[in-house]
Each structure stands twice: as C-alpha cells, then as structure tokens.
Symmetry: C2
Subunit: 451 residues, 2 copies
C-alpha cells in the first residue's frame, strides 16, 4: 500500500498528550475564572458567510482570511471572536439581557506567513461586556481586574497590564492640531518599542509631513513615565485645553482608582501613554499585557472599550469593553521559556489497576471503587509480562499502581504502590482512595505556570 | 451605513446563552467521565492537508468534504476525529505509550444537504484505545461500559447499547457462500429498521442477484431475537461450520460476559445481529446506541473494533476500539423532545451584587468574598433605576440578589434576596456564601438530561 506522510500543517499547534493536559488545565482555569466573574459561555460557528465576516471589509485581515466556495456559498473561517460576537448580539438582540457578559474560548484562523511562534490556527480566550445604549465605566476597570485574577490563578506573577485611553490620545492630537493625522500617528507611535524614539520621530516627519517641533511634542507626551499617580499628575498640565482630552483624563483617573479597588496591585498595572491598539474602533480605555521578563514577545492579552460593537449589522448602539488572550501563542512562549510547571499531574490516570489473576472481576471492582471516589483509574488488561506492565506505568507517569493478585483477592484488599517513593502497602479500597487522593490533590492544586 | 444581515449559516448550530450552558454541562460531564476512565485529552487541527485527510480516499465522504486552496496548499476540514487520530498516532508513535487512550471533543465538518436536524458543523465526542500490535478484547467491553457510565451521569436512563460482532457476520456469510457480497449485504441489511424485512429481501434478490432461499437465510439470521443469553444460545446452532464465525461468537460471548462484570445492566445493552456499521474497517465488536423511546433518530453513539487504525500512514499494526457520540445531533434531539432538564442553573451567575451607594467599594468586597467561596458573582454597576436593576436580575434568572445600601454598609452586612422565594435576609458575607451555596449546589448536581 502506498502511504501518505502523516504530517501536520505548519502554523498549526498539535501537542503531545502531556503538553495537551497542561493546555487543558490553563483553559479550565480561564473558564472557571471567567465564570466566577459572571460571564456566560458562548460558542459560534468556525465557518460564517464571507459577506457577514467581512462586513467591515478591507485591511490586513482580508488578505489573511481563509475564504472558499462550497456549492453556491462564499464562506470564510472566523479570524477573531469579536466579529462573530457582533453578529451574535445583533442577531439575538431580543433574547439577550444587557449588560451581556460572555466568554468564548475558541480557535480562529489567519493565513499568515509561516514563521516560528506564529500560528495560522490559534485559540483566543475572550471576555466582553456589551451594553444596550450605554455602559458604565466601572466595566473598563473590572476587565483588567479579571485578567489579573486569571493570570494570578494560572501562576503568573511577573506581568503588567498597561492601560491607556483613546480619548486622552485623540484629545492630545486635537489640541496640537493633529486630529486628522491621529490614526496615522498612533500607528507609527505603536512602533516605539520596536524601533525607538529617533526612528519614530523621523517617520512622523517623513511619512506625515509633520513639523519637527510637533513630532517632538508627540514624543515628549509619549515619554511621560513614572508611577501611575505621577503620570496622572503630569497629564494635569494639559487639562482645560481640549474637552475630549479632559474626558479621557477623567476616565483614566477613574479606571486607575477602580483598579486599585478591584484589588489589582500597583506592580501589575501601569498607565502607559504609548499604547493605542491598532484597531480604530476602540474609543476609551485600551489594554495591553506584557510579561515583565519577556517584553520582546509583545502583548499576550489586549483589548479595550468600543462604542459600537455591531454597527455593520444593526442600528442599535451597542457599546462594550473586552479583552482577548492569545492563548496558543502564550502557551507556545511559556513552553519555549520553560515556564510550564512540571508539578501538574499529566498522566492519563491517578492509578493503574493491574489484575494478576485470570478473573478481572476484583480489578474491575477496585477501579470502579476508585472512580466512585473521584479518582481516575485505568484497568490494565493487556496480556504482557509483569515487567512490561510496570514499564507502561512508568512511561505514562502514573503516580500509583494498584495490584490485585491472589493474596489481595483472598483478603479483599489492594496492594497500592507509590511509583515515586516505591513504597507499597496492602489497603482496603477506601484506604487506597484516601491515600491516592492526598497525593493527587496536592499536585492538582498546583498552578500550571511557574510565575 | 449599509448593513449586512447578521445571519448564521444553515446547518450550523448557534445556541442562546441558556442552551449553551446546558451544552457545556453535557460536555463537562463527558470530559469528566472520559477522564475517570483514564483517557487523555487530545486536540488536533480543524484544517489538515487534503492529501492527509483523504489518504483513504473515495466514497461519500469526499463529496461532503470542505476542501479549498490557500496559496499553494490543498486543504480540507476534518470530517471526523478518527482520521486525525490515525495521523496523530502515526506521526507521534515514538512518543506515545500503548495502549494509548485518548478522548477528543471537537467540531467536524460535512457539507451535507441542509435539512432539519442535520448539521454541517457538529461536535463529536470520541474515545479510542489503540494498541501496538495487539489489544485485549476486554477493551471491547470496557468501551460500551464507559458510554453507559457517561449516559447515566448525563441523566439518560432509557437507552440501549446494541452490540454485534463483524467476525460473526463475516463468518455467517462465508458459511453461506456469500463472502464476496458480504459488504453489500451488510449495507442493505443496515436498512432493516428503515424499510422492513420484505423490502430488504427484495433488495438482496434484485441488487445482489441472491437466490431467494439465501436471502431468507440472511433474514432468518437477522431475525434472531430474545435476551442476550437466548440469542447467544441460538447462535450456537451455527457453531463448528466456519472458523471466523466461531471466533466471532466467542468474542461476542466474552464481551457480553464482561459487560455485565463492568456493571452495565442487561436493560441497557443488547446483542443485535442486525447492526454492522457501514465502515469497512471494523473487524470485531461493533456498537450502536439507541434512545429507547426515539428509535427513529437512529444511533446517537456508534463505533467498534478495528485492526488497523493508520494503515494509510504507517506500516505499524495499530488495532483499536473506539466509539463516538454525535453530540450536536444528540443535543438537538434532546432539545426538540424537551428532555433537557430545567433544573440546571443556566444564569450567568449565582448572585447579582447591586451597590446602592455612590462608593462601589463594599459591593466589590462582597463580590470578591463570594467568589473566594467559589460562587459566581456579578457586580451590577449600571446607573439605572432600582426597578430596572431587579428586572435585569429577573431576566438573567439569577437565583440571588445581594443589596448593599447605607444600612448594610454601616453594619458590614449584606441583604440577600432569594429570587425564587422572595425571602430577604441581612447576613454577613460568610453566612451569605453558605446560604447561596446550599441552593446552588442542589441545582448544580442535577443531571442535565431528564432520563
């Protein structure tokens, strides 16, 4: 028979079992955290009508999109979870209660140039709060507080949620007579981290015909650094010259104050005037999240406030605020940097139950008893030598092996072997469950990321 | 602005939040059950190289597949989870321990004719056990036992896992000199439930040129009914005439005996000689699962034993046994038949925390305290009238509202209102958590399906 090479496409993450368990653990913690903060889970199709997905049209996105015909239909794979959310809220508006809070963890597709650490299929883990007509600013502080909680529960310590405000930026550009160029300026300033001040200044002058002193004004503003209070204080110097600026400053002050009230420590969030987010639909607070020790990988979690989620689908005004974790890329980086905890139990089971008699009955009973106690038990029924069976136990990394020979069956007990210590005891099924659970629980409560 | 209709493609399930919660609950129970039986979670790409996905080629599948070009690549969306598993095991053979037990719950794609209750994007929830070279028959009994456990935990009571054996069928056809037509006969006999005996007999005669007495032999065999023991007893009449038949009968006896040992009650499984499964790669035990009261919807969970999982990718002999739940279709049927429990809590949170003072501080603290106790709490910060706030609580179906007015803040307590009974009490945060948890736990332990 002629064979096909069993290859996986480049740009598509496919994990080995132990790594997959770590990924599942991370997703589970995100689901739990998002649920604790009252987000309801959503699931939308991976395929949508191209017309619907590209209602906004244009830009980089359209080039990267997976788009194809099936019969008469012009179809496309979703490239984010925000557009499907907009469609969903517009389509089901009458059935939803607002503020509508949803989370979605799902795969999205972008046919980017293949590159190490870049993925064409990747998970996003999104939360959004959508208002009907209006939405209180408290939500703009709660969103990063949720991310703080999620990251902390994952085990991350050294990260910083950077916060800025688009009204503040727009106001600043207005008071400098640069409103028309605001979008372009923000696009260029976004490169500050990558290319540095000198180059950004030159780009502002060359590409936007900006006078040198105006380019310096921009860079001076972006250079404002310090503690959150210090930055806010320095921004006061600009107050009173532009209404939008003043509104943005007020919002930034409010969000900063709430963030502290929501329990986010100062070291985990920072007002940062250089972040703007590329997308032009953000209108208020914007976020990026940096791993403190790995600034070069860019933001692992971004989002912001928008005034009109679904303008391409409905005339309803639907303001909202949301944030998205680029989960596949985050996982990739954590794996590359050796930051995934080895403490987490990645074996497919907690106990491998090996019958040593012809009749599997007692082994089946033992496995059933362990499962009733909430433990993951595997019955090993292959006819192999004892050594091969123990080799299998080693290979899957199971913490306990349960042996059922004639002795054990006669006594109605189990021999329980701790695979790490090598210690073996004869116990009742109940005692075995208690012993195994103790060890398991310690490891299952470990955070999946080494902070 | 010209608007696009926010439509979802036909054949794609998109659930409202409350239904989505029920679906998530079902998926969670499947994940838990599969994990208890020591299956490790896998996740493979939705897109694969068409060449890889269609290595086996031909048949109905190829017509239904979503296949498209992107750049130079000929791509396709997976149409089941078995082919990706075969690819995975072949590609990662050296890194896996055998028997390799994996579960996967994921979306698959088939561009079928749009039809009520038929889906083009649907979830399958699969388990498979793969051996290296050989695999003990005990696994063929454990698989339906796991499905029994899963269905029972979901709340289903009236279902029957139907079991047959392909060696038994092949042997029967051989001893009747019909081996060459075995595949075609099985395909036609598969229609027994739909078109009845008379028509099947005619089809056997017309389409396969079968002599009438031979067609009757086939139908007599298929007509064997009774308790499992009775059927096995009647099959003894054929013993000794064909080796493959005898082997199949032995396997069926073994599987039936083990199934009882695994704790599956007789009413939930049945030897049924009419089931064969269309796919020609099954070689031993085969399964179909019928909802007793809805036989017309066909099998909701099917699978079987195969000798060679990945022959298109590797020369390694990889026998296995697996089963797949058609989750989207099952959910659709349960929904249509009103079998989804209303007991399950579908609100996005357990408590809606409403601050009644300017300062949200105490409300944030209360929400945080509830979350620390594992409860899902939503802080309501919109500036609306009290009545509108309570209307929102009603609309989302939240079981408890927590009010924080000046009185409560002064006393350091919370007013907790049970939205079902209307009862309101002033309590400490700890007391509130206890009260809320009691009500919640009862509902959260409810099975998602009314059996």
């Amino acid at each position: 028979m002629s064979r096909v090479e069993p290859r996986t496409l480049s740009g598509f993450m496919e994990l080995l079992p132990r790594d997959q368990v770590k990924m599942e653990r991370i997703m589970q913690i995100l689901r739990e955290t998002y649920s604790l903060f009252a987000f309801t889970p959503l699931d939308t199709p991976v395929i949508e009508a191209a017309e619907v997905l590209l209602a906004k049209g244009g830009g980089e996105t359209e080039k990267q999109i997976y788009r194809f015909q099936k019969g008469d239909s012009d179809l496309a794979l979703r490239f984010d979870l925000t557009v499907p959310l907009a469609k969903y809220v517009a389509a089901h508006y009458g059935s939803l209660a607002f503020p509508f809070r949803r989370y979605q963890i799902g795969k999205v597709y972008r046919g980017e140039r293949a590159q190490r650490g870049r993925f064409r299929e990747f998970y996003q883990a999104d939360i959004d709060v959508i208002g009907d007509g209006k939405l209180d600013i408290a939500n703009e502080a709660e969103i990063p507080a949720i991310i703080y909680t999620a990251f902390t529960r994952l085990g991350l310590r050294r990260f910083r949620i950077k916060v800025n405000n688009r009204k503040l930026l727009n106001g600043f550009y207005a008071l400098n007579g640069m409103s028309e160029k605001a979008q372009d300026i923000m696009r260029i300033v976004d490169k500050l981290d990558k290319v540095g001040e000198v180059k950004v200044k030159q780009m502002l002058i060359d590409e936007l015909n900006m006078r040198p002193y105006k380019a310096e004004n921009v860079l001076d503003f972006m250079a404002i650094r310090g503690s959150n209070d210090e930055i806010l204080e320095r921004l006061e110097a600009y107050r009173g010259m532009d209404e939008t600026f003043d509104l943005g400053l007020e919002e930034l002050r409010t969000v900063t104050r709430y963030l502290a009230a929501f329990g986010v420590p100062e070291e985990n969030f920072a007002v940062d005037l250089t972040i703007a987010r590329g997308l032009d639909y953000y209108t208020g607070t914007v976020y990026e999240t940096e791993l403190t020790d790995y600034p070069e990988i860019g933001s692992v979690c971004s989002g912001g406030r928008y005034d009109n989620l679904a303008e391409y689908y409905t005339d309803k005004q639907l303001p909202g605020v949301g944030i998205s974790i680029g989960l596949t890329r985050l996982f990739y980086v954590l794996q590359e940097q050796g930051l995934l905890s080895e403490e987490v139990l990645t074996a497919p089971c907690d106990a491998l139950v090996i019958p040593m008699t012809e009749d599997y009955g007692p082994a089946v009973e033992a496995a059933t008893a362990l499962r009733s106690a909430g433990l993951r038990a595997q019955l090993y029924t292959e006819k192999r030598k004892f050594k091969a069976k123990m080799g299998y136990a080693d290979k899957i990394g199971v913490p306990f092996v349960v042996l059922l020979g004639e002795d054990e069956v006669a006594k109605g007990q189990l021999s329980v072997k701790n695979m790490e210590s090598g210690e073996q005891q004869m116990l009742s099924a109940e005692q075995a469950a208690v012993l195994i659970r103790e060890t398991i629980e310690k490891r299952n409560s470990a955070a999946p990321i080494r902070g």
